[in-house]
Symmetry: C2
Subunit: 350 residues, 2 copies
């Protein structure tokens, strides 16, 4: 391995001169720089990253901490960020937490000890105090979920608006008994979404507690079970709104298993637009999330931020809107008509 010393010896100069020349320090003469770079090239010199990192310079690694990469949602984020960071010369280090705060802590510890340039995190419900402390040591930004303790750098979507639009759509179609299956409100996203549901219902329908089913947002099974509970209610809802991607999956599975047909027997609005949602029944009406754009924006901002190397983290918040994608799984409540069936089929292939 060729070191800075080898080059120095060969040129009869001091190691620091070589180091500075290579770093393009203004105090070094052009002639010397010229000679140094040439010899370095000739000898096949490659800077030792480890040594450089020991001197406090952070690596070109950016940690991405999220619950589960198998969620198409997060995969899109990872992809967009990867592209973004790659073109800026950074590498992505992936850590999955499974929404477990201790795993999260462990991951953040490892990243911190690897001297990462920064951390992009989708935090768990209640991050460990140590996690928060460690995050503050390097540039960081929260994605989707925002935890006050972690900081004011956040890129997210307007969760309240998203579910508000989904629910309003159903209200406008004439639905009054609308079920909501979503994440518990200990997660900021969960409570924001629930708020959107209640807001849309305000003044239109009484919020019947039994119609609201809250569970761990990443549990597909909960979505299925909650659907079963809603359907077996004395007065079942005429429509269901999903409050997370996995819940949506559970709901769709359960409806299929029970032979419940949308939109004839029940209207359904999903959350997120995963692969296959448009294939479900007559096409799933769902809340489209601008994940790709969100992640790209986050990546760009982050690179800029890291480059500044400013310890002074100025607060920054970006809220992207979600948009309702209307397909065939929603229509006005009541028995089906020929035209409505045909319309919903068209929706599926649109």
């Amino acid at each position: 391995m060729v070191t800075i010393k080898d080059i120095a010896a060969r040129l009869q100069v001091s190691p620091s001169t070589v180091g500075r020349a290579l770093a393009d320090d203004p105090r070094i003469s052009a002639a010397t720089k010229q000679k140094v770079t040439q010899v370095a090239d000739e000898m096949g010199y490659v800077a030792n990253l480890a040594a450089r990192m020991m001197r406090g310079v952070s690596s070109n690694l950016v940690g991405l901490v999220l619950p589960d990469i198998r969620n198409g949602f997060y995969a899109t984020i990872a992809h967009a960020l990867s592209k973004c960071l790659q073109s800026a010369g950074y590498q992505l280090a992936l850590s999955e937490t499974d929404d477990d705060r201790m795993v999260e802590l462990q991951s953040v510890r490892e990243l911190a000890s690897a001297n990462v340039a920064g951390i992009i995190i989708v935090p768990t419900a209640k991050p460990h105090r140590e996690t928060v402390r460690l995050l503050k040591l390097s540039p960081h930004v929260q994605l989707l979920r925002k935890h006050a303790a972690i900081g004011d750098q956040w890129f997210g979507i307007d969760d309240t608006l998203a579910i508000f639009e989904a629910t309003s759509h159903l209200v406008q179609l004439g639905h009054r008994r609308i079920g909501y299956i979503g994440g518990t409100d200990d997660l900021p996203t969960g409570s924001a979404r629930l708020k959107g549901y209640h807001k849309a219902l305000a003044g239109v329908a009484s919020g019947e507690p039994a119609l609201v089913q809250l569970g761990a947002p990443s549990e597909v099974d909960f979505g299925a079970n909650a659907t079963r509970r809603l359907l077996s209610l004395p007065k079942p809802p005429t429509a269901i709104v999903a409050g997370s991607v996995q819940m949506t999956q559970g709901i769709l599975e359960e409806l299929l298993a029970q032979g419940v047909r949308a939109p004839d027997d029940l209207s359904v609005v999903g959350f997120g637009d995963e692969l296959g949602f448009r294939w479900w029944g007559p096409g799933l009406t769902t809340v489209g999330l601008p994940v790709h754009d969100l992640a790209t924006a986050c990546g760009l901002w982050f690179v800029h931020h890291v480059r500044q190397n400013s310890a002074t983290a100025s607060p920054y918040t970006s809220i992207s809107p979600a948009t309702l994608i209307v397909r065939g799984s929603t229509r006005k409540p009541g028995p089906p008509t020929k035209t409505s069936v045909r319309a919903s089929l068209r929706g599926a292939t649109a």
Copy 2:
């Protein structure tokens, strides 16, 4: 950041004692080790990788190089590997190549200069020579795709068998004009799958060239276009077999757009079992791939291999079988019957 010195100061011992205790050096008494590890845990000590790397030890980073994480297929792999490596104390560095050999080279270069413990790679069709050279410098293993130049460490699925089973299933149902839409045969997986198709057809039907459509395996659009071409043939096929996940997506989209109904108008067998494939029409009959198990096996083997730190890379090959998942999108060719329609609906919810 907590260092070895901090622990030493707290315990009133020398830094070297702490270092040795942490390294489980036989010369340190059990009692000391006990105390050291406990305090280390308490203080949240994490070894500084940079410093360790300077001493010649490679990092705890394992590079994962693959085409596109958005492919559910690769997301599953990343997840399984992440779990596996995490529990062994390794971190995953994710690099996406988009099947571009120059991007691949760039990624591998970065990983190599970061002193990664090893690299797990799904290689592009024709990796750069430099890529191959760099890979040989650290422990590495190929996943899914196998390139002879890169080496004999490979975990993959039996691609030939996978498509053979898919095609045979159709042949047994009575199909004779079977279309195949898959990846070009410059990729080892592509040619193996094509081989499976031809093998299943041997002696049963003449392999009509127009029925075989080959393109870049990751292009959804190619799948859609190829489907259009097959359907507009003078004598269109009665069934189609997909040879990649994205092709499957394209095919499904196109059939939906054209209003072609499976299995009445056409039988379809997909590749992989992505979210939503079971929701498509009467449920997609498809080739299920043991991706999770494959990745886990690969991860375990890799960790073991890296731990051995053996420069002597003994050849190792693992071939996992794929299994056909029969749902509603396939049946015998010809006009529909009442019973067959009912049967296919049952298949969808099974």
